[in-house]
Structure formats: structure tokens, C-alpha cells
Symmetry: C2
Subunit: 108 residues, 2 copies
Amino acid sequence: MTDDERLPQPATADLDLVTVLHALGDPVRMRLLLSYADGAEHSCAPRDLGLEHLHKSTVSHHMRVLREAGVTTTRVAGRNRFVRLRRTDLDTRFPGLLDALLAAAPTQ
Amino acid sequence: MTDDERLPQPATADLDLVTVLHALGDPVRMRLLLSYADGAEHSCAPRDLGLEHLHKSTVSHHMRVLREAGVTTTRVAGRNRFVRLRRTDLDTRFPGLLDALLAAAPTQ
DNA sequence: AGGATGGGTGGATGATTGTCAAACCATCCC
DNA sequence: GGGATGGTTTGACAATCATCCACCCATCCT
């Protein structure tokens, strides 16, 4: 069944700049952001991200930080979770920030 | 004497996005960034910044983090240090980032 | 010279944080 | 039912970090 359910996340109006910057001020999470930049939904498996050296639970932790900061949203479907960048929310709250970040981030 | 001397700081080409974001992912340092946003030189005394509750050395520490991340530059003149935002360097390396940050940051 | 001033250094301490490991939980499939 | 699968939770541990304190170092001024 498509028991669409979203994991808790801050409302758009509650997005805090310092919290977002703190969340992105980590190489692993920046890496995740880049992989989410395509706007598509991603499963949690860190494939082809250069994150294979990290433990499952470590990646899970980083994804939680991103979600709690409001950078990503997570949809639960069955035993899978699909993570997607909250692009429009971020653009609404912090116009131009995401574009600048993605443009400045190390390509690939 | 105008013994102009600059404290060590990373070269423009060496500015690292994650390092900059990490430096700005702290409320005190974000506060400092905002006060530097006018482009002028500032002495180190945290006047009228809502930072009076912090110890001298704590503020000194935060300013060091900003400088080592490449966000600010510090000129030593006598017993004073003058801190200024490295706006053009940041704009060169991360186009649009600073504008987006300053626009999104809590107004004062 | 000697005090006041602007500011940094080094150590100590408590709080966060990144990481792993092991156990756990729900779902899907045979 | 019973594995396998995708992912989270909890605990432990080391590293980093924010903060304070006491002291230090130049410089400026009288």
C-alpha cells in the first residue's frame, strides 16, 4: 500500500539559517546534499557517493541531521524511505542560498 | 607607526565551502558576520552586538575561527586589530553566497 | 617608568558531535 | 512461518568545540 507518511520536519517558516549552515558544515552531509541536488527522491543506501566507508547508522545519523534542519524531507513507504531536497521551501525562506551553495560546491 | 600587518589567512583559491559553512553555523559567529556586513573595519570589542555576555577570549576565539575559515581578514595596527569581511574574495570563490546569507540572516 | 588599554594564549571543563557496533523493527518475499 | 532487506535506535568512545579564567604581551599615554 502507498502508506505515504512523512517523518517529522520543521515547518518552512521555522527554518533557521544557522541551523541549516551548521547542518551543511560537514563534508559527509555536503556530499549528501550534492547527491540530492537533482531534486529526485533517493533511497538511503549511500551508493556511488564515496560514503561506502561509513557505517549504515552513521549515514542514518547524518540524514537525520539534514531532515531536522529542514534541508530534506523523508517519505516512508513500506520498508523504504525516500529522501528529497526541500528545494522550494529553502528557496522561499533563503532565496538564492541553495543555488549559490550548489554552484560553489565541488563538482561531483 | 602604520605597521600594517595582516594575520595569517587562507588564500582565496584555498577557501573551502564546508569550512566556511561550519564557521558560520554558529549563532555568535553569524552575529559577527552581520556586524561585518557593512564592509567597514571593526575593532574587536563586541559593542552593541548582544555579545556582551561573552568573555573576551571567547569572542577572540570566534574571530579566529572566522579568519582561519577565510571569512574575515585582520589588520594589526599598534595594539588594535581591525577586522573586515573578505567580501570580494568570498564573492569570487562562492558567487552569490554572501548575498544570499546576508539577505536571509535575521535582520539585526 | 609605569599604568591603562586592546587583545591573545593556554589550560580546564562540560557539552556536542562523528563514528562504530550490536541489537532491533517492520516489511517484503519464498 | 522464516529469512532477507532497508533502515533506525541505543550505547560507547574519542574528538571537537564553546566557554571561562588567569595570565601574558604590546602599545599607548602621562
